[in-house]
Amino acid sequence: MKKDEFKKLYNQEVLKRNKKPYNFDADEEADVVIEAYNPLCGDKFNLYLNKEDSDIKSAHFHGFGCALSKASTSLLMELIEGRNKTEKVEKCHTYLEAEDSGSSKRLQNEVQKVFAEMKNFEGRVDCVTLSWKALYDKMKNDED
């Protein structure tokens, strides 16, 4: 990756969320705790979700990871608060699909579109999908 590509990847949306991540604290009392872990690089976040009926009342996270995984998890927390389970599954699915295909057409959130562009940076897609995949897998497993 050349320097200009690096600066494109580590754009303002990433740097801003890396520096001041949304709800970045360990909520030990949370109803659900989901671990997002990549054993290849050691990035590990715990996602702490509090429910009210089927809605997510609050979403916090804490742990250690690169700027991309941290910013992407921060965005996930912002987007799922107040959502119900079906909406969450749909949101994760659309995002993961966008990362997979490289097409951000179905994404409605502009910041999410910025993250979906990271598909084009070799070797870093796992960073931006880490927590999304963990949440999606957990929800899918709960359904089964």
């Binding site: 320097k3 690096f6 580590y10 690089c41 050691g42 250690f64 690169c66 700027a67 991309l68 960073c127």
Partner: protein, 401 residues
Amino acid sequence: MKNIKDRFPIFKSHPDLIYLDNAATTQRVDKVDDLLDEFNRKDNATIHRGVYELSAKATARYEQVRSKVAGFLGSDNPNTIAFTKGTTESINVVAHSFIKKRLRAGDNIVVTVMEHHANFVPWQALCKEMGCELRVASLTPEGSIDTLAFERLVDKKTKMVAITHISNVLGTINPIEQLIETAHAQGAPVLVDAAQGAALYDLDVTKLNYDFLAFSAHKLFGPFGVGILYVNPEYMGDMQPYTLGGGIIQSVSANEVTFQSYPFNLDAGTPNVSGVLGLGAAIDFLNELNRAECISHTHELANRCVVELARVKGIRILGGTQMQRSGIVSFALENIHPHDVSSYLNGDGIAVRAGLHCAQPLHYFMKEPSTIRISFSIYNADNEIDILIDSIKSLKKFWEQ
């Protein structure tokens, strides 16, 4: 180290590459590339099978490398050397083909917390399977083995001591002579993981008196996929086959099988003939070098790198200034994850390693979730440190904007 870089073709393809990931793999020297190319084009045949000229020639050359490796380690017995896929396989062979049948519940195996997973996990798994205790020697805050604590761990129930010569993260050069003496005083055999040191350091078995030693060719300017295991003649008779199949058989009937003796009982299947010959060429290259001068060169680079890094605000260097350091320096940068650092340095043509370097127990011990590793070799130069430091400073500026 003048002109040494010219011997490495990779730098012709990438003239601006600053390659600082030599602890992961070294670049391949021209002599090895030339030999592999020539073998593949003109001499390709497998060994110990055919009586035709090509096969006979390949067999003779393959066996010559065995002698060459033995000589490289100061042994006059070529049959002390077995060829494997690499350091990891060599260690697994010792765990399963030698020590397993000697273990009884209540015995113990001693390792250190600075081991690479390759010299940690096989012992840990074996201990769990056999009801034995894995004893893990601790380090001083400096990053050296706590030799007094190590002495207390080794006792009459210790059936194996497995230690690294050089830490692949801290760069610590361990006092293996002293540790081997401690182990032998209790009757325990010693395996030395020489992956990081075999290229440049003198590992003469007549001086160090180890029982098992393992290294990989690709860390000494040779090819991937081949390594060696040295076994002390005292234990050669105890070495059992590791993988079963053709090439290791004495005789086989419908009901019975007998095997050849070590080292030929480890050659099941068709061996990596070209890889072994490539290893031989790499050792020829090492024998051309003034290795003491090479060691001074890499130590000087690492020491200067430590000094320069320490001047950058927010950098934590693993290991102290008092420990004996090889050409490896690992560090963490406050508020910037190692992968982000590595990606940025890549933009300036600098290749470094980021992560846990297959040494999670050490990272837990040092309370670092992840680090950046710089590892120097003979073709690195002083000005590369300047470029590295400038790049780190420029990253900090970009990050703090």
